[in-house]
Symmetry: C2
Subunit: 254 residues, 2 copies
């Protein structure tokens, strides 16, 4: 008998298996808990499959199936011969997982950041609703422009729960190299694992026109993103205004 909640043939009682839950999914949940609690930090190696199998008193195959799903969800990364590692945003290849704006020609490269505002404000009703806060709760507001080859291309606004990002200042943002999600994960213990985006076409308002150096009324992409951490907890709101003169939003349908 394994130590986890049995699915049938239990001690007694008419177990008509009202809610069957495979062992490997229970293992997966336990591993996810350890990831969330920070038992293994981003970038670190996790215990080997045989070690986890021993800890949970299940076969290696069952642990494998659990980790397979975690790898499919990009929570962990497997490297043959080396081990299984906690996924991290502080990596070159992770940068373009959430940045879907690609140059029409040439290879993608990293944008230059210019921060316009880093403020602590109070959540509007709309922001509070999407971040699952209360109206008036503290939020960090960030506004920045990203340029490729000196051409301003992205005007971005972010709203973050103030509670989670207490020490976040303009200085920290400016001095940090790499994607913001890397900073969030390493400095504030908040890891983005999933996001949804709603995309619309909008006309450049005076502010956007100024920052992106385009004429007022120019058609621009507007991407409203909600990012989630473990347990589908919303931890970021982001509105990106993209100039698609020399770039496009790339998507794979499958």
């Amino acid at each position: 008998m394994n130590p986890l909640s049995p699915n049938s043939s239990d001690a007694a009682g008419t177990d008509a298996s009202p809610s069957f839950r495979p062992l490997y999914q229970q293992i997966k949940a336990l591993i996810t808990q350890s990831l969330q609690s920070g038992e293994w930090k981003p970038g670190e190696m996790m215990p080997s499959e045989v070690e986890l199998a021993g800890r949970f008193k299940v076969s290696q195959g069952t642990v494998r199936k659990a980790i397979d799903e975690l790898a499919a969800e990009n929570l962990v990364v497997r490297r043959q011969g080396k081990g299984t590692f906690v996924a991290t945003h502080a990596e070159e290849r992770a940068h373009f997982r959430f940045l879907r704006l690609m140059p029409d020609e040439g290879v993608p490269h990293h944008p230059d950041n210019r921060f316009i505002a880093v403020l602590r404000i109070r959540a509007t009703a709309e922001v509070a609703r999407l971040l699952e806060l209360k109206s008036g709760d503290a939020v960090v507001y960030i506004k920045r422009v990203q340029s490729f080859d000196g051409v301003p291309t992205i005007l971005e606004e972010l709203w973050l729960p103030g509670q989670l990002f207490k020490g976040l200042t303009a200085e920290r943002l400016v001095e940090y190299r790499g994607p913001m999600y890397g900073l969030f994960e390493s400095e504030f213990g908040t890891r983005m694992i999933r996001a949804t985006e709603k995309i619309r076409a909008v006309a450049a308002d005076p502010v956007a026109a100024e920052h992106l150096k385009v004429a007022e009324g120019t058609p621009l992409l507007c991407a409203d993103r909600v990012s989630f951490s473990y347990g589908d907890k919303p931890v970021e709101l982001r509105r990106g205004i993209y100039s698609t003169a020399r770039h496009h939003y790339q998507n794979e349908l499958s």
Copy 2:
């Protein structure tokens, strides 16, 4: 010894396993071939796992792993207790796999179609390049408007290889109920399995403005899609012009 190409310890020769290919991937390739050749038609049930295991002289677990990947790629659908079925576009739930335009409020429902043009023309250099044809090859050109609740929302142009869609006429398109991909698959034996989209913001030109009943210059989404069939063969070009007044392009980042 299994009958498929051995990976090592072969009859003779210094096999330093220069190109290792797992058994289950070879099985997967064989099953894909059968799917492509039409041995089992879309919507039909395929042979059971044990039967396939017998046919290929491998264990059921190996067949399972092959089918697992095919299911992940949406080429087949597993139904516990029933069997494994060839995926088909002629299903309610499949409709919204490629249609990412969602209403800002309310539940998504099917659009009304109005066909503006169904022509056989010659491929321009650009169309030929993307469809991997030669300039001047025959292509089917389709132009249509899709409306939700009577509101014209999508202006779409399609280019299809003439060779693959010989009997395609306006009548066939009009009388067919359901998504176009269903027609392509059932009547022309061409099944879309994957697509890429590049999205930009554009200003409504006179033609788009007229069809979508918006003012000239209105910002609209422009989605350029290339669809692929088995073997990454391009089989459709589609340019969609979306009005995002009451809809948005929905995307999941993970």
